[in-house]
């Protein structure tokens, strides 16, 4: 055996060891998808009332402002969530004007009914309410889908559920941390950056001292964790008086990613889109020296001081753990939920294909592979062993790759396996047929083997590069099952070039090196 050959064999053994090491033990390392193994079955209800409530509150604010501009101050304007607000004490002299303004501002969405003594009741129009609710469920569905995908769950089921039009069915393949997955799906992740007018203060009363205990209409009180030590007690609650209108919200984000703050504590860095950067630049530029509250789901995470005008980058600090930071970035990237969610059901479920089908499928695949192996042995005789070894190795390496990148195996992924095996067999057939041709043309055994591999090399490159391009496009633009297919195909093709060309050739050389004067080849 030459030195060169020894090295080649060594490389092959090393690759096998590496592959086996990555997927061993397969029960733990190879993740199976929902269709093959089952997982968690969740049914969620979208609190669509939230959306109506928001609409009502916004309309109330809008009307209040418009009225104030024309100096109409009715006795009372109050929202009665979710879908009603009332106005009382409109004077007779201003009645006509009030109606005009009200119709202008909220007439498209609300029905107006007048009561006694200049009072009015506004209710959301039924058709608008239906549209709002549907829209909210649709948005929630998309957001959940994005979150689940970013969480790295392959091919979940996310679908509308039930006749009440506000439920969503989510099935996740065997995720190890169900609690975390549920929390990730459920949390609203509504990010708002609001200017602080007063505070922080240890109590609500202390906060409202300067305003005589009244919250001004355009402001609101939000609580948060004490991050400045003003209460002298770690983790205590403090109160902020902030502007109701947010300087920017999660919608203005372009990206969010985990990072560290100046004290090397976990934090989330975000960048803003053009619109967000413009708004944020104005808000921070005009308010240098003041505090900016970072409000997440209605709670102040931290309230840093604005040192200078900030346009397109920012950082959310607070007392976060590493995992909270990565989950928060994920949630911010996938957008806020338009409404809160509640879980109605949580069950474990078996594979969607059915356990029996999975068993039958495995049996059938093994039978199929055995048939192919038998054929290769019968047709190519001893050289068939070569093909079997290289296809088997290909499977080992592919499994190793899949375990290494933590990919989830699903039926579409297995389709990628089948195509890979098909191409692996094909590469061997191509080479063997070519060697036969060269032998028939009168070449010696060694020359024929060498020529066979050399001639077929570019064919294999062409077929594999073309398929790699296809797999890359499918991965880039596809979703769910298409991605699963593309992932296995991509790695399968790469390992096939190695096994069909390098391994197979080395095996031939190894056999021929032991028979220096070979005149025949079992092919």
């Amino acid at each position: 055996m030459t030195k060169n050959l020894q090295w080649k064999l060594l490389i092959i053994l090393a690759v096998i060891a590496l592959a086996v090491f990555s997927f061993y033990p397969p029960r733990e390392k190879v993740r199976l998808g929902l269709d093959l193994k089952g997982g968690v079955h969740l049914v969620l209800r979208v609190q669509t009332d939230d959306a109506l409530k928001l609409e009502t509150e916004m309309a109330t604010e809008r009307l209040r402002e418009a009225l104030a501009q024309r100096n109409i101050v009715p006795g009372n304007i109050a929202a009665e969530p979710p879908s009603r607000f009332v106005v009382a004490g409109v004077t007779a002299g201003q009645d006509a004007q009030f109606r005009t303004i009200a119709d202008e501002q909220v007439g498209a969405v609300f029905n107006r009914v007048s009561g006694a003594g200049g009072s009015y009741t506004f209710d959301i129009k039924p058709n608008v309410a239906v549209t709002l609710r549907d829209e909210t469920v649709r948005q929630a569905l998309q957001t959940i889908e994005r979150r689940v995908n970013e969480f790295g769950v392959a091919e979940p089921i996310v679908a509308p559920h039930g006749t009440s039009n506000d439920q969503i069915l989510v099935q996740l393949p065997g995720v190890t941390d169900v609690g975390r997955a549920k929390e990730l799906i459920r949390s609203t992740a509504l990010l708002e950056l609001k200017l602080v007018e007063q505070g922080p203060a240890p109590t609500r009363e202390a906060l409202l001292q300067t305003t005589n205990g009244v919250v001004p209409p355009s402001l609101e009180v939000i609580s948060g964790v004490d991050d400045r030590g003003i209460t002298g007690q770690a983790g205590a609650t403090v109160y902020y008086l902030v502007r109701k209108t947010a300087a920017i919200t999660g919608r203005d984000l372009r990206n969010a990613r985990p990072s560290l703050d100046e004290n090397s504590r976990p934090a989330v860095s975000f960048s803003l889109n053009n619109e967000g950067a413009r708004k944020f630049g104005t808000a921070t530029g005009e308010n240098v020296g003041r505090l900016l509250a970072i409000v997440l789901d209605g709670r102040v995470q931290s309230a840093p001081r604005i040192d200078s005008r900030i346009t397109d980058e920012g950082r959310i600090t607070g007392s976060f753990t590493q995992q909270e930071v990565s989950d928060l970035s994920l949630k911010l990237r996938s957008g806020a939920l338009p409404a809160s969610l509640t879980y109605l059901e949580e069950r474990t479920v078996g594979p969607t294909l059915g356990a029996d089908s999975v068993r039958a499928g495995v049996m059938a695949s093994v039978t199929g592979l055995a048939l192919v192996a038998l054929f290769m042995l019968g047709y190519y005789k001893l050289s068939g062993i070569n093909a079997i070894v290289s296809v088997f190795l290909n499977l080992l390496i592919l499994l190793g790759f899949m375990a290494y990148v933590d990919a989830t195996m699903t039926l579409p992924g297995i389709a990628g396996f089948i195509l890979t095996i098909g191409m692996g067999v094909d590469s061997n057939v191509l080479i063997f047929e070519r060697i036969k041709e060269e032998l028939a043309a009168g070449k010696g055994v060694k020359a024929a083997v060498a020529a066979g591999f050399d001639r077929v090399w570019w064919t294999i490159v062409d077929t594999h590069v073309a398929s790699l391009i296809a797999a890359a496009f499918l991965f880039q633009f596809g979703t769910g099952p298409i991605r699963g297919f593309a992932t296995t195909l991509f790695f399968g093709l790469l390992s096939n070039v190695f096994t069909a060309v390098f391994v197979s050739r080395t095996l031939f050389e190894f056999v021929l090196s032991r028979r220096q004067t070979a005149t025949t080849l079992s092919i």
Binding site: A159, G162, V372, A415
Partner: protein, 338 residues
């Protein structure tokens, strides 16, 4: 042992017949689908009804699946809850409004079917409608992804071989996809996620098959400089015939095992692959090369008309000389370096 040793079949003589046959199958498929309002969509695409059943004794998913087998559409039968609870979830696709298959009727049909199967007493824990898993948005994305990948392959072939070959390969790929869809329609299969995966596999297989022949054509163009293009292509198809048939045969064998032994759930998947493999092999031999030659000759005829001397020299076969200038295969000198 050898099959197809030194064959000299004249495949290209049949190219017009082959094209006609393919067009016929594809048109028949499209016509058939059109009369039935498209290929029936599986539950992944259409949504449907979910019924959860609780049995008083252990049942297998297979038994329940057999019980509901007579109902229309592709069913999903899934264990629900822990294994000991004997609960089974059945998803049934919506089979179209015109059949009036509402939530109530869907669940009624399931109940009736399970009752007749005699699997012991059971109660219905819940009945719900469920929306599609793959909504319109995801469907569109999937189609774009597939088109983009075919385009990527085409560009690669155009660069490595010649543009007319790229068109041949694309036509062959679409041919296989449409023929497969046609057969799915004829045999009443539904479009499910698994079938889509199989179709992607078929597209990949078809391209692979086609490139192998094109590669041989490129090699032979150098060796057979005096032969007309169609002769070169025909020789190449013959030379690779053994490989084409063996590869198709072995893959077919493997998938056939899946079709026969893989159970009901995988049958649609396996059927799609079986049709696709046959179609892919057929299109490699008859369609891809034929299109490439027809296009090359067109171009050659135009080039020949502009250059009378070339046409004269080529005699009765202007295509030969005309095709030559276009043939600049990007041969790498490193060919032996493998």
């Amino acid at each position: 042992m050898d099959i197809f040793k030194n064959t000299t079949f004249d495949f290209l003589r049949w190219r017009w017949h082959a094209l006609a046959l393919s067009v016929l199958i594809v048109l028949a498929g499209i016509g058939y689908m059109a009369t039935r309002g498209g290929l029936p969509l599986g539950i992944d695409f259409s949504g449907g009804t979910i019924v959860v059943l609780k049995f008083d004794r252990p049942v297998t998913e297979e038994a329940v699946r057999n019980a509901v087998a007579s109902l229309p559409g592709e069913k999903v039968v899934q264990r629900y809850g822990q294994a000991g609870e004997n609960e089974i979830l059945v998803r049934l696709p919506e089979t179209g409004a015109e059949q009036g298959f509402s939530l109530e009727e869907g669940s009624k049909a399931i109940l009736a079917a399970v009752e007749t199967a005699n699997l012991g007493t059971f109660e219905v824990l819940s009945t719900e409608v469920v929306g599609p898993v793959i909504g319109k948005d995801l469907q569109r994305k999937g189609i774009y992804a597939t088109l983009a990948s075919i385009l990527g392959i085409a560009i690669y072939i155009a660069v490595r071989f010649r543009p007319s070959f790229a068109i041949g390969a694309i036509v062959a790929t679409f041919h296989d996809i449409f023929v497969t869809l046609a057969f799915l329609a004829f045999f009443g299969y539904e479009l499910s996620l698994n079938v889509v995966a199989a179709i992607l596999t078929i597209a990949g297989y078809s391209v692979n098959d086609t490139i192998v022949v094109f590669d041989r054509v490129r090699e032979n163009l150098k060796l057979m400089r005096r032969e007309p293009l169609d002769r070169v292509v025909n020789t190449s198809v013959n030379q690779t015939l053994a490989r084409t048939v063996i590869t198709a045969g072995t893959t077919f064998l493997a998938v056939l095992a899946l079709y026969i032994f893989g159970g009901d759930v995988l049958r649609g998947f396996a059927f799609t692959m079986l049709v696709g493999i046959v179609s892919g092999t057929y299109s490699t031999v008859f369609i891809a090369s034929a299109i490439a030659i027809i296009l090359s000759q067109r171009k050659a005829a135009r080039a020949g008309g502009a250059e009378p001397s070339a046409a004269r020299k080529g005699g009765a076969r202007p295509a030969t000389n005309g095709a030559r200038p276009a043939d600049k295969p990007a041969r790498k000198p490193a060919r032996k370096g493998a």
